[in-house]
């Protein structure tokens, strides 16, 4: 059971070839992608402002909660700060679990909580 958290400057690079966690029957990767339209207006990308130390802590709290609640094997969490252009990835969550059901449920719950409790704000550019 491990939870990794990283905040990274700018767009997230392609997912690394992390070996799956021992015992995993499922790996689920979620990529949040910047869309070129925000509130009906064309944009160049999104500028993310993070209260960094707290954002890292909150991401870790949510991750640890869900790993325990769902019996996950591992969670790797990465979020951008700064400018992320259209079509690039600003948030990635990698969950390894024994079976898919708990992994999918945890992924949904993680993103719900991210959008309430993690001090990161986006602004269209």
């Amino acid at each position: 059971m491990s939870v990794q958290v990283r905040l990274s400057n700018g767009a997230l690079s392609k997912v690394a070839d992390m070996p799956t966690t021992q015992g995993a029957g499922a790996r689920i990767v979620f990529d949040g992608i910047v869309r070129p339209v925000e509130d009906g207006a064309k944009i160049e990308g999104l500028d993310y402002e993070a209260y960094r130390p707290m954002a890292e802590q909150q991401l870790a709290i949510i991750g640890n909660d869900l790993v325990e609640k769902h019996g996950l094997l591992s969670m790797d969490i990465e979020h951008s700060y700064g400018f992320v252009p259209n079509f690039a990835c600003s948030f990635r969550l990698v969950i390894d679990s024994k079976h898919r059901k708990e992994g999918l449920k945890a992924m949904d719950e993680f993103i719900d909580r991210l959008k309430v409790d993690v001090p990161i704000w986006k602004r269209a550019q």
Binding site: E49, P119, R123
Partner: protein, 82 residues
């Protein structure tokens, strides 16, 4: 008088044009009391404080928690990450 410094981010920071506000309280106060003082000193932040929460030393705190003026205090308005 106690002096509190509250970090601002995102829309709240943009609205005020600063990354922090400083407010005075008659004595050491709770989270809810501090929010009232922030609005009194910065009425334009009122809507942000209605939905926002205060974080102390990078964690959310209950409304009735008393707040150390030397702590790192931040106003966390509605977030929009992801």
């Amino acid at each position: 008088m106690q002096q509190y410094t509250i970090l601002l981010f995102g829309p709240a920071s943009a609205l005020i044009g600063a990354d922090r506000v400083v407010v005075q309280c008659p004595s050491a106060c709770t989270c809810d009391e501090l929010k009232v003082q922030i609005v009194n000193a910065n009425p334009t932040l009122e809507t942000h404080l209605q939905v926002g929460r205060l974080a102390v030393n990078q964690g959310f705190v209950a409304g009735d928690a008393s707040i150390d003026p030397h702590a790192e205090i931040a106003l966390i308005t509605m977030v929009s990450g992801g």
